[in-house]
């Protein structure tokens, strides 16, 4: 554990720019959301400005880090810092998803059955006689209150049975995403063996699979809104379904962009060596993480 020449960067403008970008971003987001439906509101431009300056700052920040790395300023110890940093970042992401999975388990095992009158807690709810005739079920298609604010779905996204398995999009999504984890691994192997052609080819396939996944997911959402009547307003089933798959989809996009950037760096700038490629490795870890989340989603949101 030598601390010889640990690179401590000079003063940097990136963080304060980034902080200000995030400020614009959240101010823009809050005002835009608060003025939804108000056609005269201009707050969305603050949001756009926030995104623009965030991406610009990120671009130049990463460029600087890459430059420093190519200039040989990174000791092995600094690389270890990046490795640990990425690992703990992924752990924080795991906990973010844990909140939503926790919500799903809670409503499935406690809240909805209790509303239906099961268990010692359910008796109290039933005694209120609030939503007469509500029956606990999952997927919950009929909400306890059938008021106008709920768009009742006709159909859920759950496993349709073997007869309809092949026309069931989530199965294809699973196949696509699982294969992309394999192809990104092949790319990694190629890189480690110094085979750049193999690396580029398999990384390109992975990015392609990511695009296909996002496309299929969009098709599934379209299907849900247009044909199933399943929306964010469909009660707790729609809430958990869209939030879990939505955040996962968003993470797929982020991971896909990371991998695409790595591909561009390799193809256009010839970055990464067989022994030195943590930028790519971090992106691929992220990709495997996104894949594992999908497997959990497939099990607990779609199948079980």
């Amino acid at each position: 554990m030598s601390t010889q020449n640990y690179y401590v960067p000079d003063q940097s403008r990136f963080p304060i720019f980034m902080a200000f970008s995030l400020f614009l971003l959240v101010m823009g987001a809050s005002s835009t959301i608060n003025s939804l439906g108000d056609a005269d509101s201009n707050s969305v431009y603050i949001l756009y400005a926030g995104f623009a300056s965030l991406f610009t700052t990120l671009f130049f920040w990463f460029r600087q880090v890459i430059k420093e790395h190519l200039a040989g300023l990174d000791s092995n110890q600094l690389k270890t810092s990046y490795v640990y940093g990425m690992a703990w970042f992924i752990f924080s992401e795991v906990m973010f998803f844990a909140a939503f999975f926790g919500a799903l388990f809670y409503v499935r095992n406690f809240a909805v059955p209790w509303l239906g009158g099961e268990g010692e807690n359910g008796v109290g709810v039933a005694a209120l006689d609030l939503w007469d005739g509500f029956e606990s079920a999952w997927p919950l298609i009929t909400t306890p209150d059938k008021g106008a604010e709920y768009v009742l779905a006709e159909k859920s996204m759950a496993w349709p049975g073997w007869g309809h398995a092949l026309e069931w999009l989530p199965l294809w999504n699973t196949i696509v995403l699982l294969s992309s984890s394999v192809t990104v691994h092949f790319a990694h192997v190629g890189l480690k063996n110094g085979n750049r052609k193999k690396f580029n080819r398999f990384l390109g396939i992975t990015v392609g699979l990511a695009l296909i996944f996002v496309g299929l997911q969009a098709a599934e959402y379209y299907e849900a809104y247009a044909h199933y009547g399943l929306t964010l307003n469909s009660g707790i089933y729609g809430s958990t379904f869209f939030m879990l798959t939505g955040f996962h989809g968003f993470h797929v996009m982020m991971g896909g962009i990371m991998l695409a950037v790595m591909l561009a760096r390799s193809v256009f700038a010839g970055h990464f060596e067989d022994h030195d490629h943590f930028g790519f490795e971090a992106a691929s870890w992220y990709w495997h993480f996104v894949d594992v989340v999908w497997v959990m989603l497939f099990l607990f949101v779609y199948i079980l």
Binding site: T3, Q11, M18, S92, A99, F100, A111, L232, G235
Partner: protein, 527 residues
């Protein structure tokens, strides 16, 4: 490429840059630590001013000074500002200053991200405070923002609140990742895990808790946002959700959060008691294991905040027992501190006074916590001033006294000057008396049944409320003295030696006072 190397080369010959940009662009852990500490002090004064509004209104029964709506905004912002703006940034500031020096590292592991995690905080609190001037006023649902108060019945500014919490969370997560990576990767040769100073250990565990629970808080506020604006039903039973689900998610974050605010205090107090008792800590490894046990248990006790919401009996029993189990490692720590002082040649400098007060008063807060952990008893105490007294005892003479102790203890190392011992002692006694006069009577009025979060109360609570308000203003005013002492010490004073305190041990005391801008650019040898 070579320009990059040149810049790097220059860096080590220069001291700090001049002017405002030094603070905006800095990557230096000492600068960032200073920023965190001053920011936290500013928030402490703002949150404190809000506490004064609350106590002034409660000086006597009836409505005197503020409208009930504004009172609700004050209790909400007071809690949020003190927790996320006062205590947490103060501990991160101390970690920035001390962790690299204690483990012999040249800086934090990821210096630019370190700057980012500080500078997003002022923006977050600007957003939060600006909500006071928005239509419908600031958030008014209490710092725990229970649904449906914070969803169905919230003012429009809740959207800004949600995003400012996101930013605070991002700041904490990045700060915590930096601390963990620094401790895991940057220790000088010879600083093995079980030789790390206890403050470093306490922060390693705290950072782990932060990374584990801040994303859960982000999830909770995201669900709120969706429920409010996009029609989801997470916290709405009419759609199949459950308002109690909010409480589960919130307290899964919230309980580890309270340990986030006390574990670094344990580290600080261990150092100070050791130094001024001129003895080695009674049991180092038991202290480490106690902190680890507390951290792990903190994940399985959250529902003791929710005993009265209608949990199944099995859950009430489980969370009661699990909570009481925490008394065991906490007891290990308290007896450890006492055993360290036993037969020591103790002197009572200001940091030691604060540390001893911490041990006594924090233990009292712990005992009232034990009372609250007893489920059947909690049905009586729940949401009364007894709870307010309990958590203020662990947070004010607990967390905040430890922060003040740390400032007095390390400030000679930070700026090279000794603080004024007479003024320091005066500050201690005023704070000590103020804190107890404020919060001790709240136990009585709480047990007598006064509910928290109301701007008015029944006549029988009048006397003790008046006493409490007098104490609060005494405590509040004494903190101006603290500001004066700190500024005076920064400006000048008796020069500190390198070791500063006779009994002080550890790497940070081997460098000059004030600590040079860059320390340990090559790692020290530690046996």
């Amino acid at each position: 490429m070579s320009a990059v190397i040149e810049n790097h080369h220059d860096d080590h010959h220069h001291g700090p840059a001049k002017g405002l940009t030094r603070w905006l662009y800095t990557t230096n852990h000492k600068d960032i630590g200073t920023l965190y500490l001053w920011f936290s002090f500013a928030m402490f004064l703002i949150g404190g001013a809000m506490a004064m509004v609350i106590r002034a209104e409660l000086f006597q029964p009836g409505m005197q000074i503020v409208e009930p709506e504004f009172y609700n905004q004050m209790i909400t912002l007071h809690g949020l500002i003190m927790i996320f703006g006062g205590v947490m940034p103060a501990f991160v500031g101390l970690a920035n200053w001390l962790v690299p020096m204690m483990i012999g590292a040249p800086d934090m592991a990821l210096p630019r991200m370190n700057n980012l995690s500080f500078w997003i905080l002022p923006f977050a609190f600007f957003i939060l405070l600006s909500s006071l001037f928005m239509e419908g006023g600031a958030p008014n649902f209490g710092w725990t923002f229970y649904a449906p108060l914070s969803t169905t019945y919230a003012p429009p500014s809740v959207t800004f609140f949600i995003f400012s919490v996101h930013i605070m969370g991002a700041s904490s997560i990045m700060g915590a990742i930096n601390v963990v990576v620094t401790i895991m990767n940057m220790r000088a040769p010879g600083v093995t895990l079980m030789k790390m100073p206890l403050f470093v250990w306490s922060w390693l565990i705290t950072a782990y808790l932060l990374i584990a629970v801040m994303p859960v808080l982000a999830g909770a506020v995201t669900m709120m946002l969706m429920d409010i604006h996009f029609g989801t039903s997470f916290f709405n039973a009419a759609g199949g959700g459950d308002p109690v689900l909010f409480q589960h998610i919130f307290w899964f974050f919230g309980h580890p959060e309270v340990y986030i605010m006390i574990l670094p205090a344990f580290g600080i107090v261990s150092h100070i008691i050791e130094t001024f008792s001129r003895k080695q800590l009674f049991g180092y490894s038991s202290m480490v294991w106690a902190m680890l046990s507390i951290a792990i248990l903190s994940f399985v006790v959250w529902a003791h905040h929710m005993f009265t919401v209608g949990l199944p009996l099995a859950a009430e029993l489980f969370f009661m027992w699990a909570t009481m189990l925490i008394a065991v490692p906490t007891g290990v720590k308290v007896f450890n501190w006492i055993a360290t002082m036993f037969k020591g040649s103790i002197t009572f400098e200001t940091p030691m006074l604060f540390a001893i007060a911490f041990v006594v008063l924090f233990t009292m807060g712990g005992f009232s916590g034990l009372m609250l952990a007893i489920t059947p008893a909690d049905f009586q105490y729940h949401d009364t001033y007894f709870v307010v007294a309990h958590f203020h005892y662990v947070l004010v003479p607990g967390a905040i006294f430890s922060i003040m102790a740390a400032v007095y203890y390390w400030i000679p190392k930070w700026c090279g000057n000794m603080y004024d011992e007479r003024l320091g002692k005066l500050h201690f006694w005023l704070s000590f008396i103020g804190v107890n006069v404020t919060f001790f009577p709240q136990h009585f009025i709480g047990l007598a049944g006064m509910p928290r979060r109301y701007p008015d109360y029944a006549l029988q609570f009048a006397d003790w409320n008046m006493v409490s308000t007098v104490g609060a203003f005494l405590f509040g005013v004494s903190q101006i003295l603290f500001l004066f002492i700190v500024v005076k010490t920064v400006m000048g004073g008796k020069k500190a030696t390198d070791q500063v305190w006779e009994g002080a041990r550890g790497l940070e005391w081997t460098v000059a006072s004030p600590a040079p801008y860059h320390t340990f650019t090559t790692p020290p040898k530690v046996d």
